[in-house]
Amino acid sequence: MADRAADSSANRPQDFVQIAMEIVEPITKPPRSLVAEQFDDLEQQRDAAQLGMWVFLATEVLFFGGLFLGYTVFRSAYARDFAAASHHTEVLIGGINTAVLLFSSTLMALAVRAAELQKQKRLVWFLLGTAFFGLIFMVLKGVEYHKDWTNHLVPVLNFEWHDANPGHVQIFFWLYFAMTGLHAIHVTVGIFVMLVLAMLARFGKFTTGHHTPVEIAGLYWHFVDIVWIFLFPLLYLAGHR
């Protein structure tokens, strides 16, 4: 197995250009072999990637979990205030956004299917579609945040609450922005990943029977969808309307 770094002996400035090329090169040129050198075959590589992504998703559950814990503790302590606060969330936008993400997840599942069936054009469109609806989600989120701003519901910046227990209501909105904000960051990362994959798919990278990156990106996207599936009722429907 070739050792790319085996030829040089000095550390001149030219070497650093060489280093940069070595990092960029694998992304743009087709790989020498589809199987990385630490693996015996394609199947082992795919199994490893899938397990790795699932373990990573478990870490994400606990990462968001800390915020869910905070939410649970304070909702049980301040149920009425949380209900009152929840009435002021933009439930229509939230509901539409839920549907948007569910639809993007469907497109993603279809993208993985297209990859497995080696239908390159379909794959590209489905990946772009996933990214597009992710973008719609973000745009609607922006609109929603703007509305929260005009309603003086943003802690730190312009929070005002003239009914009972403003401190408790502020905690609700702090958690609301923290949880939806962290989620939005994850959506943004996902959109970028989908766009990169779409570009790679366009150049034929996934038509050789090796489509693991699409699969595991899909797992990530579905996970982000699942987080929102829980966020929606907890934040927007906390008290009946």
């Binding site: 373990v55 559950v61 569910l102 279809l110 579905h222 699942i226 429907l237 009946h240």
Partner: protein
């Protein structure tokens, strides 16, 4: 261990079910069930999450190991939630010795 994808119809049917559950959770959000609001809302959310995991994420038909990996995070989250709530919910209890 293969995760073969489903026929496209399966995905569309799953999507339809998810939208239905979304409508359900939305409308129940306008009904006062007291304590049950949150229970029903969570139950519906869990169902939706299961649909996404089973069909979109291909847990249905996956190896035992992947299914274990998928559930472990959730179980650990539940451990964190339950033992912490165990503290908060018992703080106001009457002390043992008077």
């Amino acid at each position: 261990m293969e995760t073969t994808t489903h026929p496209a119809k399966t995905y569309w049917k799953t999507f339809a079910a998810l939208l239905l559950l979304l409508a359900l959770t939305w409308s129940i959000g306008y009904v006062d069930l007291g304590l049950f609001n949150v229970i029903v809302a969570l139950a519906i959310a869990i169902t939706k999450a299961l649909l996404v995991a089973l069909f979109f994420m291909h847990i249905k038909g996956s190896s035992r190991l992947l299914r274990l990996a998928a559930t472990v995070g959730v179980i650990w989250l539940l451990i964190m939630l339950s033992l912490t709530l165990g503290d908060y919910l018992t703080r106001g209890w009457v002390p043992l010795n008077h």
